[in-house]
């Protein structure tokens, strides 16, 4: 196939896109996990006002398609005087969108936590932030691990949507390669293979960490 040799000649373009995808996914994963974790606190607080606000946020994220949300931040925020360039708008969309999903799956893991564990924590004098960080969070993270892995793969897939607001990620670079040299088959297949490698790596890493978690339990 001639197309693949052209893609190989211009592999630096694809690799820059791949690198950008990895950076975007890494920030998206870390940010959404962090905000999602913090969101579980109002979700589980039991105070009606907090619960309702956090639930509204989570439900809203679960109803919007990611593309619409990315457009909303990119085109909608300037109406409120907040100007973000396409890269930061894309990353912010990825973080805020998936924070809703992360919060929901961590909440589910938290509500399955045994009461005795938390009571034991109270008995040892833990309360507030210390209780959350030392007693609640570690088992919640471990038991939600497979679901967090699925969500990470979803983040990888959603990062491809950012091509529509011209973020130079993998799909965007594959598209520009195909429009410049007309190698549609080779360039998109190359992108699909790189996405596949990324997701398989995430899956096996999560599997490995999960085995470690099982041993500790």
């Amino acid at each position: 196939m001639n197309g693949f040799s052209i893609v190989w000649q211009h592999r630096d373009m694809i690799l820059i896109g791949f690198q950008n995808t990895l950076i975007i996914v890494a920030i998206g994963a870390a940010g959404s996990l962090l905000i999602g974790t913090l969101l579980t606190i109002p979700l589980m607080s039991g105070r009606r006002g907090f619960v309702m606000m956090a639930t509204a946020y989570v439900d809203a994220m679960r109803c919007v398609p990611f593309l619409l949300f990315a457009y909303l931040l990119y085109f909608g925020l300037p109406s409120f005087g907040i100007q973000l360039d396409n890269w930061w708008a894309g990353v912010a969309a990825l973080v805020l969108y998936h924070a809703g999903y992360m919060a929901e799956l961590l909440r589910a893991a938290w509500s399955n936590l045994s009461k005795e564990l938390i009571e034991a924590g109270h008995a040892f004098g833990f309360s507030g932030w210390g209780l959350f960080r030392r007693i609640i969070l570690p088992p919640v993270m471990f038991s939600a691990l497979p679901l967090i892995g699925n969500q990470l793969i979803q983040i990888v897939k959603d990062s491809a949507f950012l091509t529509v607001i011209a973020v130079a990620e993998l799909t965007h670079e594959a598209t520009s390669l195909q429009t410049t040299y007309f190698v549609p088959f080779a360039s998109f297949v190359a992108a699909v293979i790189l996405y596949w490698i990324t997701c398989v790596t995430i899956e096996s890493t999560v599997g490995y960490v999960n085995r470690f978690a099982e041993e500790r339990r």
Binding site: F66, F75, G76, F161, V164, L170, F185, F188, V200
Partner: protein
């Protein structure tokens, strides 16, 4: 926003709903077929299905849409945007449905199958009357969950020029220079569609529960 703007976004909703429905109607049985290939462990085909599911489940829908629309003409299959969009969405949802059906088949109680064998049921009858009702019941929540995800994946086909809710809202926003109102309309429409699917799932589950109680 004029009434024509509302109309154009609602028209986009029609495209979103019909694209989702067509891909679901095609993708659910296709997934079942592929799951049966894995269940029966047909040589070669089994490995092909494993590869297909692994690659497609990790492939972003946008990239898949671009691949189908721009790359298939290279191998002599040139598709209009709408068939290309339907093909993309079907191929992607079928991969997820394969895993859902396969999970139900793997967990199917062996004794029921043996009982059907004892009664001398033929293969087709065994599948239609014993296996299928059971796996439909166990897969339904996961299938509807996948359907709602499918609705949210449809904006991906906007990149190949199909005007669905998101693209229609973008157009209105670009013309009026006020992007927020059309986005809010789009958001409401998506929520209604997703809500319709979830309600359908609850209704069907309740019926099943009643049927099981008798």
């Amino acid at each position: 926003m004029t009434s024509y703007d509302y109309y154009s976004i609602a028209y986009g909703a029609l495209a979103t709903v019909s694209l989702s429905l067509v891909s679901i109607v095609l993708g659910v049985p296709l997934g079942l077929g592929l799951a049966l290939i894995r269940w029966s462990r047909l040589p070669v085909l089994n490995q092909l299905v494993i590869g297909y599911v692994s690659v497609i489940r990790t492939c972003p829908t946008v990239t898949l849409a671009l691949l189908v629309f721009y790359a298939l003409p290279v191998v002599g299959i040139s598709l209009e945007p709408v068939p290309a969009g339907i093909l993309t969405l079907t191929v992607s949802t079928a991969a997820f449905n394969t895993e859902i059906w396969r999970n139900a088949l793997v967990n199917f109680p062996r004794d029921q199958y043996d009982a059907a064998l004892t009664f001398g049921m033929r293969r087709g009858l065994r599948f239609r009357h014993i296996v299928l009702p059971h796996i439909i019941h166990t897969s339904l929540p996961a299938l509807v969950n996948e359907m709602t995800l499918q609705v949210k994946a449809t904006p991906a086909v906007a990149v190949i020029g199909i005007v669905e809710i998101t693209r229609a809202a973008i157009r209105v926003g670009a013309r009026t220079y006020e992007p927020l109102p059309p986005f809010v309309v789009a958001l409401v429409l998506y929520s209604l569609i997703v809500f319709a699917f979830v309600t359908m799932q609850r209704t069907v589950e309740r019926r099943y529960a009643l049927a099981g109680a008798h």
